[in-house]
C-alpha cells in the first residue's frame, strides 16, 4: 500500500516542525497504532465535551501541565495546546463535501477549549470556502478556536508565538478575519443573499431555527460502503456553523421514526451516529415528525424510501420536497413539538 493521507501529513509535520517546540512536545502515533482513538486524558488523540466524543486528531502539541479533560472530568498530566487534523485530500480529488467530513475531528478539541487546526495540504483542488466560515463561527460560539490552514508555516508561526498570549490572540484574530473574508467574498459571488443560499442548498431559514433537508435513507447508515455517516455529519456541521445561533432541524423525509429508533439501537457505539444524535442544538427529524404533509406525499416518500436518488426516484423526491419545503415556509406544514 502507498503512504496514506495521514502518514503523509504526519511525516510532513515532523520534517517541517519537529517533534518538539519550546516546552511543547508532539503527540503523534503511526498509522498502525489504534491509540489515536483513545481519549486525550487516556493518552490518545480524541477530544470530547460533556460525554460526547468527536473524531480523532492526527497530532497534538502538549506541555507538561495538569489539565482537566472536559469530556470525562479526568485530570491529565499533559495539557493539550494545539490539536491538528490533517488531510492530503486536496491532492486526491476531494474537491467537494469530502472536505467537510473531517471537520468534526478537530472540533472536539475546539469544544474542549483549545486551538483546533484542520490542515488541508495544498494540492490540485482548493479548500472549499464554506470550511472557513464553519471554523470561524465555531470559534465564535465554542470555548476554543478553530483554524483552517493549507500552509504549515502558519502553524509554525503560531507555535513560536504560543507562550505570548497577546501575540497569539492577535495572530488568531487576524487569521479568523481572513477566513471570514474568504468565505464572504465567495458567498457574495455565488449567492448574494441567504435567501438565495437557502434555495440552492436545500435549506429553510426561519427566525430561530433552520431546516436542512436531504434524501438520506436507512441503507445509507447500515451499509458501511456508502459512507453516508461521514457525509451526513459533514452536512450537519455545515448547517450548524453557518447558523450558529439557530436551532437546526436535519430533515430526512425518506426515513421514518422507526428507522431512527433502529439506528439508535444498532449504532450505539458508532461515533458518527452519536454525533448526529447528540450534537447540541441539532435535531434529526423524519417525515413522521411533520404535521400537515399531504398523504399522497407521505405515500410517495414511503414508496421510494429504499431507492437511491437517481432517475425517476430523484424526480419524485424533488416533487415531494417542493411541496414539503413550500409548506414549511408558509406554515401549512409544521414540525411536531416534543
Amino acid at each position: 500500500m502507498a503512504q496514506s493521507s495521514d502518514e503523509i501529513i504526519k511525516r510532513e509535520l515532523i520534517d517541517h516542525l519537529g517533534s518538539a517546540t519550546g516546552d511543547l512536545s508532539l503527540r503523534v502515533f503511526p498509522e498502525s497504532s489504534n491509540d489515536d482513538q483513545k481519549q486525550f486524558s487516556d493518552g490518545g488523540l480524541t477530544f470530547g465535551f460533556n460525554g460526547l466524543l468527536y473524531g480523532s486528531c492526527d497530532a497534538c502539541w502538549v506541555r507538561k501541565k495538569d489539565w482537566l479533560d472536559p469530556y470525562n472530568k479526568v485530570t491529565s498530566s499533559e495539557e493539550p495546546v494545539i490539536a491538528l487534523e490533517g488531510t492530503d485530500a486536496l491532492n486526491r480529488g476531494s474537491s467537494g463535501n469530502a472536505q467537510y467530513q473531517r471537520f468534526h475531528h478537530a472540533l472536539g478539541a475546539v469544544k474542549a477549549g483549545i486551538i483546533g487546526v484542520y490542515y488541508l495540504k495544498k494540492g490540485a483542488d482548493k479548500i472549499q470556502e464554506d470550511l472557513y466560515e464553519m471554523a470561524y463561527n465555531a470559534s465564535q460560539i465554542e470555548s476554543g478556536t478553530y483554524l483552517i490552514i493549507d500552509d504549515l508555516s502558519e502553524l509554525k508561526t503560531l507555535l513560536d508565538l504560543i507562550d505570548d498570549n497577546v501575540k497569539t490572540k492577535a495572530f488568531i484574530e487576524k487569521k479568523l478575519s481572513v477566513m471570514h473574508s474568504i468565505f464572504q467574498k465567495k458567498f457574495d459571488e455565488k449567492y448574494g443573499s441567504w435567501e438565495e443560499f437557502a434555495k440552492k442548498r436545500s435549506t429553510i431559514i426561519k427566525d430561530t431555527y433552520v431546516i436542512k433537508y436531504s434524501g438520506r435513507m436507512l441503507r445509507n447508515f447500515t451499509d458501511s460502503s456508502q459512507r453516508a455517516g461521514h457525509i451526513a455529519v459533514g452536512e450537519m456541521y455545515l448547517t450548524k456553523y453557518f447558523f450558529p445561533r439557530k436551532h437546526v432541524y436535519y430533515l430526512w423525509p425518506k426515513m421514518s421514526s422507526a428507522d431512527i429508533e433502529y439506528l439508535d439501537s444498532n449504532k450505539s457505539v458508532d461515533k458518527e451516529w452519536q454525533l448526529l444524535r447528540n450534537e447540541p442544538g441539532v435535531e434529526i427529524i423524519t417525515r413522521d415528525d411533520l404535521v400537515g404533509v399531504p398523504s399522497a406525499v407521505i405515500t410517495q416518500l414511503y414508496q421510494i424510501r429504499d431507492e437511491p436518488l437517481k432517475g425517476e426516484v430523484l424526480v419524485k423526491f424533488n416533487n415531494c420536497m417542493q411541496i414539503i419545503s413550500d409548506g414549511l415556509r408558509n406554515g401549512k406544514i409544521t414540525i411536531k413539538t416534543k
Partner: protein, 357 residues
C-alpha cells in the same frame, strides 16, 4: 506463537546470521545499512531520528495504484517528477546509508509508554540515535502487530529462490492488496532476480546483487500474512481469482498446515527457522492469457524502480534527449519509460554515475 523481543532476536539471528549486540534498549541485531533500509521498508520499523515518529521509508516508494494500470500514486513519482527515490531520501537523511545499524525490538503497551522509553534512551545517548532502527512490539495487539515482520521473513525466504519480491502489492481495489508477492522471470527477458523490487532503485547508492542466470519460465506467487488469526483463505482466493498467480502462500508464525491443498505455507519451526511448504496442487488458477498481460505489466513496472536511480534533472534530460520535447503529463512519463529497454536504463545509470559509457 506470539513474537516478542526474545523470539524476534532468535528468529533473525537463526535465519539470517545477524550479529546480536547489547544496547541500552536491550538486545539488538547489527546489520549493514542496506539490510536495515530493506528491513525498514518492509516492516515499517523506524530509524530513531526522533522519539515521536521515527522515520521509515515504508509506503513512500510505491509507483502505481493497481496492476495492469499506469496511474501513479505519490511515491517514487509525484505527477511527472521523481520524488521519493532512495537517492533523494539519502540526500535528505544522510544517516540512512552512512554506517551499520542496530535493529532493536521494543515492547510496549501504549504509544505514550513507547515514546517515553525512546525519549529517555535518546536523552542518555552521547551520539545521534539514527543508527538504531526500532522494531515495535505492540503487546496490546493480538500477534503483537508483527504481520509486517512475517512479510519480511517471507520476502527474504522467497528472494533466495531467484524471485523479485514485494510486500504490500499493487493489485486491484476490488481484490485488495496482497501482503507479499514474488515474481520470477526468465533471466534473458528480465535480468534481475533475488531482490526486493525497490532494491533496483539502490544501484546508484552502491547496492549490488548478482542476477542468477536462469532459464526457468515465469512464475508468480502471492501470499497473505496473519498473526491474530489463522484464516487467510478468503483473501488468498481473491488474489488467485485474478488468474495471475501460480501459487499462493499462507504466512503465519505457528500454523502447522495450510487451509487448502492449493495453498502453500511459510511458517517457523521449533528452532525458529523459516520453513516453506509448497502447495500440493500448483498452477490451478493461472490462466496463461491473463498471466501474460500481468507479466507484460510487471516487466514495465520494474523499469520505474530502475529509473529511480536518476535524479529528476537527469530523468528530464533523458526524456528530452529521446523525445526532443518537454514532459507535459504523467502519460508522457509512462509512455517514455515503458518504451525503454533495461539496457537503455542501465546504460543511463552508468553514464550518470561514472560519465559517458
Amino acid at each position: 506463537m506470539e513474537i516478542d523481543s526474545e523470539l524476534f532476536i532468535k528468529i533473525l539471528h537463526v535465519n539470517f546470521k545477524f550479529e546480536i549486540v547489547d544496547t541500552d534498549l536491550g538486545k539488538g541485531l547489527k546489520v549493514d545499512p542496506f539490510t536495515a533500509f530493506i528491513y525498514s521498508c518492509v516492516t515499517g520499523a523506524g530509524y530513531l531520528d526522533n522519539p515521536a515518529y521515527p522515520f521509515t521509508p515504508k509506503g513512500i516508494m510505491k509507483v502505481f495504484y493497481s496492476a495492469l494500470d499506469y496511474r501513479f500514486v505519490t511515491g517514487i513519482f509525484d505527477n511527472t517528477s521523481l520524488k521519493n527515490t532512495p537517492l533523494n531520501l539519502h540526500k535528505a537523511k544522510k544517516f540512512l546509508f552512512n554506517s551499520d545499524k542496530i535493529i532493536v525490538p521494543v515492547e510496549f503497551d501504549s504509544e505514550r509508554e513507547l515514546q517515553k522509553i525512546l525519549s529517555d534512551f535518546i536523552s542518555k545517548q552521547k551520539q545521534p540515535t539514527e543508527n538504531f532502527v526500532i522494531q515495535r512490539i505492540e503487546k496490546s495487539k493480538n500477534g503483537n502487530g508483527m504481520e509486517p515482520f512475517l512479510e519480511y521473513l517471507a520476502c527474504e525466504t522467497i528472494r533466495r529462490d531467484n524471485f523479485i519480491v514485494e510486500s504490500q502489492v499493487p493489485l486491484s481495489h476490488s481484490k485488495g492488496s496482497p501482503d507479499f508477492a514474488g515474481y520470477r522471470f526468465n533471466s534473458v527477458s528480465v535480468p534481475f532476480n533475488s531482490v526486493h523490487i525497490f532494491e533496483l532503485a539502490l544501484i546508484r547508492l552502491g547496492l549490488s546483487r548478482s542476477c542468477v542466470h536462469t532459464s526457468l519460465s515465469n512464475r508468480f506467487i502471492v501470499g497473505e500474512a496473519k498473526t491474530s488469526t489463522t484464516d487467510m483463505k478468503n483473501q488468498l482466493e481473491k488474489y488467485l481469482s485474478t488468474n495471475f498467480f501460480n501459487e499462493a502462500y499462507e504466512i503465519h508464525s505457528s500454523k502447522i498446515s495450510p487451509a487448502e491443498t492449493v495453498f502453500g505455507l511459510i511458517t517457523l519451526d521449533k528452532k525458529y527457522r523459516v520453513v516453506l511448504t509448497p502447495p500440493r496442487e500448483k498452477d490451478t488458477f493461472v490462466l496463461p492469457e491473463k498471466q501474460s498481460k500481468y507479466r507484460d505489466w510487471l516487466e514495465n513496472y520494474i523499469k520505474y524502480y530502475l529509473i529511480a536511480n536518476l535524479t529528476n534533472d537527469e530523468f528530464v534530460t533523458f526524456y528530452q534527449e529521446k523525445n526532443k520535447r518537454k514532459i507535459s503529463s504523467s502519460h508522457d512519463v509512462v509512455t517514455f519509460i515503458n518504451s525503454l529497454s533495461y539496457e537503455d536504463i542501465l546504460t543511463k545509470i552508468t553514464e550518470v554515475s561514472y560519465g559517458s559509457v
